[in-house]
Symmetry: C2
Subunit: 233 residues, 2 copies
């Protein structure tokens, strides 16, 4: 249904997968080419041969997941808009379109949930100041689209307020992804549902409430007793 992860051939794939694992664990700055080639059982020169440079590999790793998430987000957003047109869609459904691709894509990937989330969180929060250009372009583009739709759903909310609230929520999402392990473990096994589902459900409720605060004409469903994965991905 949505664009799948870019397929890679043998040795390139091994390198990318090794890099993903190490980047997720230690961050993009703290991993050397030698670490990666060792993890992939490849030669030190392999990274430069296949990706031109260390940075080429970094870009490949980033785009491999950012791209599909972005695509799916946009597709879902359009679907939600079409479903409610000409009315503005409810906040919760817009935010679901924003968040749920994280879940569907992690299921398509062969990484563990934990690793996938940490990797994506690091991609979006990279600290060198600026994000990688390609990522930034896609990411900002996506944010803009969602803000535009949210502005319709929350037409009584000044745009400046909307931007700030979305900014806060983005931070919560990134933090959830990069540092969720500890809490994730805590929740696990409470019921039969996978941990990531309930976490996302919690987050979705959190985001909806925060965005809708004080906005007239926007009604929010009552809080569930305990967050459950009531929506389907």
């Amino acid at each position: 249904m949505y664009q799948t992860i870019i397929p890679l051939s043998g040795p390139k794939l091994r390198l990318v997968e090794a890099a993903e694992k190490l980047f997720a664990d230690q961050g993009f700055d703290s991993v050397s080419v030698r670490d990666i080639t060792k993890e992939a059982n490849a030669n030190v020169a392999a990274v430069n041969y296949h990706f031109g440079s260390r940075d080429g590999l970094v870009s490949a790793v980033m785009l491999r997941y950012v791209n599909p998430v972005h695509q799916e987000r946009c597709a879902r957003l359009e679907a939600v808009e079409k479903k409610w047109a000409p009315k503005a869609p409810p906040v919760e459904e817009v935010m679901e379109a924003y968040v749920s691709p994280l879940v569907t894509q992690v299921r398509k990937s062969e990484m563990s949930e934990k690793l996938f989330c940490k990797l994506l969180g690091r991609i979006l929060s990279e600290q060198g100041g600026a994000l990688h250009p390609e990522v930034q372009l896609q990411f900002l583009n996506g944010v803009e689209r969602f803000l535009k739709t949210l502005a319709k759903s929350l037409s009584a909310l000044p745009y400046e307020d909307l931007v700030w609230r979305f900014h806060f929520i983005s931070g919560a999402m990134i933090h959830m992804m990069t540092h969720g392990e500890t809490l994730q473990a805590m929740t696990k096994g409470a019921n039969g549902v996978t941990a990531i589902d309930t976490t996302i459900a919690r987050f979705l409720r959190f985001a909806t409430i925060a965005l809708s605060d004080g906005v007239e004409g926007v009604e929010i469903p009552p809080a569930p007793k305990t967050p459950q994965a009531t929506f389907s991905f």
Copy 2:
């Protein structure tokens, strides 16, 4: 009233200040001892002479601000609890005790607001996986105290939900500090109030709403038309 920033003598101070600036800008990993000594007009060997090692300087920089913020948070929390005893204090006042020390400490420091926030944000989100041990100890200790008080203020909320909501809010706070520049600039000059005040006011409202969602017996003041620095630090 609250513990002031640890005073340092001449050359040590120059090194710490140079390091703060560079760390805030580029992160703790991407700055070399040479960068720091150059910025401080000191000799390359100065860092090792005065702080034992690069890591010694990192610890000094971190503790210089984390310590006072932590102290002030605890003091404010105790004051709020005493004020309302034996009742549980309202959520908003507890969160104000958590957040407002950021503002008072930035005013005491000689760094710019932007630099201070970025530095503190980086300290709390350092990506190597684990925070510096000393920071982590203080930080976790502080979080625990606030959670304990919030659990009383929100006694109808399951503790697990509280923890998750606080986790999300922490992420929003860190993101606000590390990536606030762009949005900060947007707000600046709207009225006579300094940017950081309105930002914190916004955040405080955000946190209060998110924590109180669906909790019976907790009443939240109506949203201000546009967030203003109505509370005093």
